[in-house]
Symmetry: C2
């Protein structure tokens, strides 16, 4: 019974790490430009304006810009992704 | 036999759409700041320099910057994600 308790304790302490390792690397982008071998977006820094949010969840209907769709993705999956926000200091 | 052929043709024409719908929305970010409820990064436009690449695959060891890790992720999974590249026109 004692060795069973020890085994259970060891298992419970290791489980979070095993779970993390078990998460397979899967598709990040389900729908955007799937005919392209690699979706790279370019922007000129001079043209960025005062503030812009870029999508990093690949769920935005306005990709490459963020439209807030990360919120539903995070809620549906338990994920924690969000945009890259670029802004001018003086605004 | 004819209706079987028709059924097969219909099935084959719809299969790509069914496959797409079957792809479950899963975690995009497996490891970065998982203690945070939403990972948002901010940058000042004035400080961007001449060229910078931001990661959108969430696999970079230099996140939020791209370190090229998207290549292995794409190869391992068949995905097609890549960075956001910001650059000045005059360089
Ligand atoms: S919609 Fe993708 S990060 Fe906001
Ligand atoms: S390392 Fe993530 S996009 Fe390049």
């Amino acid at each position: 019974a004692f060795s069973g308790t020890v085994a259970a304790a060891v298992y419970m302490s290791l489980k979070p790490y095993m779970d993390k390792k078990d998460q397979k690397d899967q598709l990040v982008n389900l729908r955007i430009q799937k005919e392209s071998s690699k979706v790279v977006n370019m922007a000129d820094i001079e043209d960025l304006g005062n503030k812009v949010c870029y999508c990093r969840c690949w769920r935005s209907k306005k990709f490459p810009l963020c439209d807030g769709s990360h919120a539903k993705h995070n809620e549906d999956t338990g994920d924690n992704v969000g945009p890259l926000v670029l802004k001018r200091k003086d605004v």
